[in-house]
Amino acid sequence: MTVMEKLSQALPLANPWIESWRSEGKKVLGYFCTYIPEEIIYAADILPVRVRARTCGAGDTPMGDAYMTPTACSYTRCCLELANQNQYDFLDGIVSCNSCDQIRRLYDNIRYKAPFPYHYIMGVPGCVSDTTHEWFGHELTKFKENLEKNFEVTISDDKLKKAIQVYNKSRTLLKEIYELRKRDNPPITGTDVLNIISAGISMPRDQFNDLLTQQLQELKEKDGISDYRARIMIVGSMLDEPEYMKVIEDLGGLVVTDSQCLGTRYFWDLIDENKNPINAIGERYLSKISCPRMTGKYTEREDFMVKLIKEFNVDGVILQRMKFCILWWAEIFLLRNRLKEEGIPFLELEREYILSGAGAMKTRVQTFMEILEAR
């Protein structure tokens, strides 16, 4: 079995890695956003798993429509649907935050309509200052104490430091993989990178790091991909459906970088291993490359996008946003202007969480590829 095949085993919701973890009598918590500090959960010897909902059939969500309402994003509707169908019965609880209105209300609806044994929601400030940093440290401490109380564990500073090291290692390895994508002939597709990151959020992190190390070594020695038509960057929100990437890459657009929830924004910034662990975690999560929910940080996000475009020699950008997503529609409205100023071609795609209507998407991507080739 190849390393990629082993990683792919982690892609289904309930996967062998999680089963193995649970067979040791250990707990699993689902979480919903990159602002949830996985390190604190892992330090409690609990497996943090990002909640995904790719098995939500054709995206039919009667329960989600009724409670989240039809104008909520399909990710939250699908999650509520699967929770109601007990498809997350491998989870011992969920942890959420006020990342966006839809995510925080998903948490409420799950508690009322499809509850788990454990629920926790933490407040993440919407802006960054010394005051909000201090407040967030308080929130992180409350969360740590809540885990300790509910799961009868002790989360010592040493355990936190170890978890930070483990997660930093993932971040460093993923960054190394991204470095390889800067090559003229990158050794890996965007589809595979998305699958790797999706595996990482669905399996024990130490084992993921081992596989990632092997994968990196393989990639370093591998011949690169040369038969692509254009180098693409994807920018947008939560996307864990590799079929979207595949549609783009099947048409010759090689995805070489991104600014996405399950991409650079998830792993780009490290946690300082020399500081008090809770403070360091707080600093990293508030100062990391942000989601549009963080006000006052737009210019930083925009500059980050442009920096990656240059470093990865990107030919065109695909701005993807899930239907009914407030944050990303507003963000993309601004990003368009910057891309125009920089002379970078872009394609804007509205999508649902589950890929549907691939035909229409193919037509638009195909046209975009032709535009990029003609330049």
Partner: protein, 441 residues
């Protein structure tokens, strides 16, 4: 009923003459339009306050005062204490909705690709369209909060980028609902007090003027007086029959959100309180022969000025108050400057819609349950804004709680309170009529 007399009308018309500045052209149009509308209506202190509010901006421009734009979920008292001219942005969307002048700006935002109606709230979105047309006021300063909703944080953030002016963002914290916790724990209070002080420091730096502490104390005394009036008014509405018509409570909200901290707000809230008290004393009902008492725990349908009158006249039903009209900020200790900061911190957390929606669903459910119990409600009507993700996604849970615990029915329907083209007045009236006749009566 006291109408706006010819002499006063002319006086106000004259005050509106002259150039207000290009970006205030729409503001002026609204002023003139409202003046004409109010000419035919009861000239109450609420109306007078609104007229004066419109005149504040051109006056501020002439006097060289800085204009600060802020959203519908924060009181302006600190801005008044700092001698600024506060502009509550949503006055536009609410004021333009019944005149159907929102729609062209909504169309512009659609054309330029800034969201759509089911995604981004049209309480803020027309601002971007109006700005693109050069019709939105360009303030000197911008202030907004992280909650109650993403729509505020996002549209204000976009506006900030477009006009590039100094901006202050306040984080209103979210925290878990836990019966064992105190509502305002020490950390939360400290957090909010610090941010409030940071807001003042930021203003001082931007306008190069220190906060006059004496004026701050006086302003806080005024806002406190108005809050006391609102509390008494809210208590009086518990009487059966309800002593005031359906729209009355919204006047309190307008006063607190646009003129909080000024004598105008005291005058309006006192007037409403006195009217309610007088009516209770004289056995007068806001809706004659009241038969149905309706809880309306969301905003009004702003584009339909006559909807509440229709409900009152057709069903002898009274809407006790809307979610915004439910202004729950308690009077606070204003004996020292430090205490005033504390009061403002709590006010930011409790403000209309913020107090009920910034946290978990229990904040909203408890509010609705108490509302239904305390005001002896017969049914609940929630005209949900399609794009209001934070509220729309909890109304069903609230409706189930109200039905299961109190046996009271709820009608929830989607619409856009700012744009009649999404769901028309006729359709809304039909839905409400069916509900009231088939379920409630």
């Amino acid at each position: 009923m006291k109408l706006l007399d010819e002499e006063t009308f002319k006086k106000y018309k004259k005050m509106g003459r002259g150039a207000w500045g290009k970006d205030l052209a729409l503001w002026k149009t609204m002023y003139m339009g409202m003046l004409n509308v109010f000419k035919e209506e009861d000239f109450t202190p609420v109306v007078e306050m609104m007229i004066n509010m419109f005149l504040e901006l051109p006056k501020a421009r002439k006097e060289g005062k800085s204009i600060i734009m802020y959203p519908f979920n924060y009181g302006p008292e600190i801005f008044y204490a700092m001698d600024l001219a506060p502009l509550m942005q949503e006055v536009f969307s609410v004021g333009l909705a019944p005149l159907h002048i929102n729609e062209p700006y909504i169309d512009v935002t659609n054309e330029i690709g800034y969201g759509d109606t089911p995604t981004l709230c049209n309480a803020q979105r027309p601002l971007i369209g109006a700005h693109m047309q050069g019709a939105a006021p360009v303030p000197d300063l911008l202030f907004f909060t992280s909650t109650p909703c993403n729509a505020i944080a996002m549209t204000y953030q976009v506006f900030q980028q477009l006009i590039n002016i100094p901006t202050f963002n306040m984080d209103l914290p979210y925290w878990a609902y836990d019966q064992d916790n105190e509502f305002y724990d020490e950390k939360t209070m400290d957090y909010m007090i610090r941010q409030t002080k940071e807001l003042v420091s930021w203003l001082e730096k931007e306008i190069n003027q220190k906060l006059d502490e004496e004026k701050f104390l006086q302003t806080m005394k005024l806002v406190n007086e108005a809050r006391e009036n609102v509390m008494e008014f809210n208590e009086l509405l518990k009487n059966v029959p309800c002593p005031m018509p359906s729209i009355a409570g919204f006047g309190n909200y307008l006063a607190m959100v646009t003129r909080g901290g000024t004598p105008d707000a005291v005058k309006v809230t006192k007037y409403l309180r006195d009217e309610a008290a007088q009516n209770v004393k004289n056995g007068i009902a806001g809706v004659p022969d009241e038969k149905i008492r309706i809880a309306w725990p969301y905003t009004h349908v702003f584009f339909d000025r006559d909807l509440l009158t229709f409900i009152e006249e057709t069903f002898q039903a009274v809407v006790i108050m809307d979610l915004l009209g439910y202004y729950p900020v308690m009077p606070h200790d204003v004996s020292t400057v430090e205490k005033c900061y504390e009061g403002e911190a709590i006010a930011a957390l409790d403000f209309s819609m913020v107090g009920t929606c910034r946290g978990p669903v229990e904040f909203y459910v408890d509010f609705v349950l108490n509302y239904v119990k305390e005001y002896k409600i017969d049914c609940v009507i929630i005209p949900m804004q399609f794009a209001c993700k934070h509220a729309y996604a909890i109304t069903r849970i609230a409706a189930e709680a109200v039905r299961e615990q109190l046996g009271i029915p709820t009608l929830i329907f989607g619409c856009d309170p700012y744009d009649s083209r999404e769901v028309s007045s006729e359709t809304i009236r039909e839905r409400i009529s069916e509900f009231l006749t088939q379920v409630v009566i």
